[in-house]
């Protein structure tokens, strides 16, 4: 099932540190040989300052207790540098850690800077040092420290470029600490800046959006409200364009979100068109499933795809998140997805049939006969389905659903009179003001 794995396509758009959770997941799922994953991890770590962790991995990878000398050297170097940076930033840090002093800061940045400079002899160098320190902290894997410092840095920073990168850093740190609520706030902040800022080239902006979307996957599939928000974000024209041009694999997540989200029907139709259009550039069982149900009306294939979808979801680091309840682990998204997918098939199927054999239906829904019957009865009971079961022949009968012609006509014209009234009254109003003006 590794052929539907998106990690190689997602990873380039993530921060180095954000790739770890993905690799962890892959290791757990046993999709790739352990050795490969360990090697990948090691390579990742080489560029970071998490030397201790790298040593651990190294040991696991080579099955030795020895650690190469350069790693040890590097460790010393990292520690030394950390010390140096800490020293550089210490005046500011101590100031910020002092509750009372911190209270003196106001909303206005310029004032703050001046105040700091005058009273505490903290100038731009120290502020810059704070940024470097925070960055280093992040690279060392101390995310909470990095997040705190970056937050503080942002209150003092005047350079918008720097401020943005501090924001990215904060976002990454929050994601890694799994503070989804805060991360979501940060995400929205980054998004605002990306949308409003003028980039040197449109390409740059698109690239930024792509990053944002990739990073947001962590949040959206962990946050409670994430599934609606992912649609809100991804389905915006600008972002959808970015997906279509540079990262069609994100369609999988958008598609999944659409499937599990029942309230998004209007946008759903447009989305189907996007899927159709992007067929040539990206296809996986989830998008194919939608295409089968809504484009080809091929229900057998849809059912087939549904089974594949299950696999894909289980193997996807974002979608296949497990919920542990006691010693019983389940993948909530999978169940939800399957349930909704079934509903999709059934709904479409019913729309074009007036009589369906229960057996066939059960087969199409991936259920057994009893389950199917219960399922349908439930639907009818909750009046989601206008149908009856003929248990003697074992069929479901759909109620014909033809709107009355006269009703339609009335519907058509109803709004007209209201609109005309409004129009007239507005005209009159206008005329009166005109006259009054004279």
């Amino acid at each position: 099932m590794a052929n539907y794995d998106l990690t190689p396509r997602i990873a380039p758009n993530l921060d180095r540190h954000l790739v770890f959770p993905l690799l962890e997941f892959l290791q757990e799922r046993q999709l790739y040989p352990d050795q490969d994953i360990l090697r990948a991890k090691l390579e990742l770590l080489n560029q970071t300052n998490m030397v201790d962790y790298a040593m651990d991995i190294h040991r696991a990878f080579y099955h030795t207790e020895d650690v190469p000398q350069d790693m040890v050297d590097r460790r010393a170097e990292v520690v030394a540098r950390l010390k140096a940076l800490e020293e550089g930033a210490s005046p500011l840090v101590s100031f910020l850690q002092n509750e009372n002093a911190y209270q003196e800061l106001r909303a206005e940045k310029q004032y703050n800077l001046q105040m700091l400079n005058e009273r505490y002899q903290i100038g731009p160098e120290q502020i810059e040092a704070l940024y470097q320190y925070a960055k280093f902290q992040f690279e060392c894997g101390n995310y909470s420290g990095a997040a705190d410092y970056l937050y503080l840095y942002r209150t003092l920073c005047t350079n918008s470029e720097r401020s943005l990168s501090a924001l990215w850093g904060k976002l990454a740190a929050e994601i890694l600490m799994q503070n989804w609520d805060i991360a979501l706030d940060e995400l929205n902040r980054v998004k605002e800046i990306i949308d409003s800022k003028s980039f040197s080239s449109p390409l740059n902006q698109v690239q930024n959006r792509i990053w944002l979307m990739h990073w947001s996957l962590f949040i959206f599939f962990n946050h409670d409200n994430g599934r609606t928000q992912i649609i809100d974000l991804f389905n915006q024209d600008k972002y959808l364009n970015a997906i279509q041009t540079s990262a069609p694999h994100l369609l999988r997540y958008l598609a999944t979100a659409f499937v599990v989200n029942k309230r998004r029907r209007p946008q759903f139709k447009d989305f189907i068109k996007v899927i159709q259009q992007e067929q040539y550039s990206y296809e996986d069982p989830i998008t194919e499933f939608l295409a089968c149900v809504y484009v080809k009306y091929d229900f057998d294939a849809a059912q087939q795809k549904m089974r594949e979808c299950e696999e894909v979801i289980l193997n996807d680091p974002f979608l296949g998140k497990r919920a542990e309840e006691g010693n019983f682990a389940s993948v909530p998204l999978r169940d939800e997805f399957l349930e909704n997918a079934r509903l999709f098939i059934f709904e479409t199927y019913c729309r074009i049939h007036q009589r369906i054999d229960m057996g066939v239906l059960a087969e199409k829904l991936n259920l057994n006969y009893e389950e199917a019957e219960r399922w349908i009865v439930n639907l009818i009971r909750t009046s989601k389905l206008d149908a009856k079961i003929d248990s003697k022949t074992g069929t479901v009968l759909m109620e014909p659903n033809q709107p009355n012609v006269y009703e339609q006509l009335i519907d058509h014209t109803k709004a007209l009179s209201g609109r005309t009234y409004k129009l007239v009254s507005q005209l009159l109003e206008h005329a009166q003001t005109q006259q009054a003006a004279r």
Binding site: L240, T245, Y280, Y297, R355
Partner: protein
Amino acid sequence: MASRFWTQGGDSETEEEESDYEQEDNEVPVEDINKAAKSKYLQGSDTESDDEDGQKRVVKSVKDKRFEEMTATIDQMKNAMKINDWVSLQESFDKINKQLEKVMRVNESDRVPNVYIKALVMLEDFLNQALANKEAKKKMSSSNAKALNSMKQKLKKNNKQYEEMINKYRENPEVEEEEDGDDDDEDGEDEDSEFEEDPSKLGMESDAEEDEDKEAGEDDANETGPGWEKMMSKKDKLMDKQFKDPSQITWDTVNKKFKEIVAARGRKGTGRIELVEQLTFLTRVAKTPAQKLEILFSVVSAQFDVNPSLNTHMPINVWKKCVQNLLTILDILTQYTNIVVDDMVEPDENETQKGTDYNGAIRIWGNLVAFLERIDVEFFKSLQVIDPHTREYIERLRDEPTLAVLSQNVQEYLERAGDNKGAAKVALKRVELIYYKPQEVYDAMRKLAEQNEGGEGEADGEPKAVEESRAPPSFVATPEIVPRKSTFPESSRTLMDILVSLIYRSGDERTKARAMLCDIYHHALLDEFSTSRDLLLMSHLQDSIQHMDISTQILFNRAMAQLGLSAFRVGLIAEGHGCLSELYSAGRVKELLAQGVSQSRFHEKTPEQERMERRRQMPYHMHINLELLEAVHLICAMLLEVPNMAANSHDAKRKVISKTFRRLLEVSERQTFTGPPENVRDHVMAATRALRQGDYQKAFDVINSLDIWRLLRNKDSVLEMLRAKIKEEALRTYLFTYSSSYDSLSLDQLAKMFDLSDKQTHSIVSKMMITEELHASWDQPTRCMVFHDVEHTRLQALAFHLTEKLTVLAESNERAQESRIGGGGLENLPLRRRDGQDYAAAAASGGTARWQDLSFSQGRHGTGGGRTGYNAGGRTYSGQAGGFSRDRTGQSRGVGRTYQTGSAARASQMDGSTRMVSLNRGAYA
């Protein structure tokens, strides 16, 4: 006399006419003399006064001089005979006739000198001999053979006058003297005036030169050396003399001479070819590489001047030489990397004096890119002018690799020199050489280029040898450093990718746009429809294309046409139609693609316009086959329109997808008798008739019988696709048309009727049900479709029409009011307005001001795309339709349940157009 100016072509025909005149002249000698004298005054008085002066002062010596000249010319003729050079022989013959006249005048006798007669006899003998030798004649070069022929006629005519004398001479070679020569005198004079009156004529140049020469060096004529020298003008000879001794040549002399020649350029009376030859000579004696380079640049620009007209092309041999010169320039530039070519700075006067050992940068004036572009233009023009069905055209096409080599070299040089902008321009030229070539043609070109290497080496060897022998070896030898053979990658796509990415990196706007279009074209050619569509949409070219120059617009149209073809090949009928329909909407395809001129009934073109248009034409080998294009367009239209018409049978005018197709169909239906199909149009119409009855087999057979399909590479798969599509549309049409006659219909039967699999049938019918095109539903246990009787009565249908129109009316009222008062407080307006703006943005050419009435009229008559700019491209229409139907969708959503028949059709239209919307949306990246 006047008419004589016109009949001076110099070829045999006019010669004959001339002889008529001559006879006339003989009848009225006095008058003629006067005229001749008069005309003599008209021309440069230089000769005249000179002659007169001479006459007065030293009669004797002048007389001798004339004789000497004559004998010299005869010597030249002898030489020419030796090497069988009829061109120079002809020249000499003309010359001797002129000299004869002078001699006669000087001698004041009417007797033709013996020498002249002797020459005539000699010439006649030689001519007869040459004519007799058929083998040799065949081997002659074309110009030589031509000269021989005209010589034959001239001589025949001329000799008639001296027949008596010639015979006498033949009898007794020694005896001559005392004959009448009155006529001859006049004759000679005539010829003289004739020649001198048309200085621009190349053959005459030497005469004028000669006169000048007289001043320069009296005994010059005596110096005439071996035969080949006659090819050169006197001036050349002069230079030759001046530079005869290699040791005496200095940079200064060459520079002086160079300046002199360049100064003469463009002046009246300076022969263009002459100039080229002189300069070429100078390149050989140039002292420093820089100087050689400088002179070579002048040679090239002089060569460009050879053809002054915009409408005709540069002579092909000159073109080839020009390419060689440019290659030499590149050789020098590569050899001496310290020489910098620049057209911005006026270089130092003595910049070129710096020799090989000079280390600093030497700046030379010149613009390689401009030269290359000019070369390319000339090549293009020559292909435009040459009849594509001749061998000449193919020969000319063979020069393409040469051009490719040159541009490749120039590009490499520019890249080395760091001029990326220039390199991008040159790369564009290369792109334009290959973008229209499918892989097969590209392969052929590659092979040709490889073969050429061998062949060209030989061909090159010969002229080189001649050159070598003709001139002293040049001082600055330039080894061939730059490769004369271009390296083509295996696949044309690779080459395109390399070039195009270079251009995107560093080209200017226009270059980038053109490269993008070429790229789109090429992708489409390789059946990569989606890639090329994405490129087109992302480039936003549709929005800006009408502001570009016409040739780019033509390129855009070509790319659109190719895009349409490729969409069709991969089976995307609606997209294909979208791309092509605009090209055909005004019936000016030929014009839009620059593949011929179409006559318009309504407005006459001025000659100027026509000329412009002719200048834009694509050479034949770049054409997109119009028949194929038309067939594809009509078939796409058929596949979309036939079910559409069937669905809206009660009011056919409602939703028109292709107006062109509808019009054609009307015309063909109006015919009382329909014969067997002849052209593409007839075929498609016949297929349409069959399809409307649901007879898919016949429809396919008719279309299959078109012989244009052989033009397709993957003919079989395309036809297979077409067959499947026709079946599908036949099924849909059948259901639309006959659903009212059925109560239920089994799936199996339907599948059998249209030879489709159950699954396909099920899928197609289901789709129709979902989109509410068909009011039926499946009865799953019996595998039947059950039709619902929901057809509206006429009254009901009319009522719906009324409500629709009312809605439109209300809407337009609201808009009108809003635009008048501004800022309407109507609750549903904001949404619509946004849609409208969207639409306006999409149809950039539509003009925002008129958008409401436009969409209104669309709602009523389904018109659109009526106003099309010269080049608005398919997008205008699709943009409008897109925006419009979005508006519609919003509306129907707001209203809630829509009535059935209307919405059925609407849904289908919506389906098509929203696809375009999403296409458009893709563009707003």
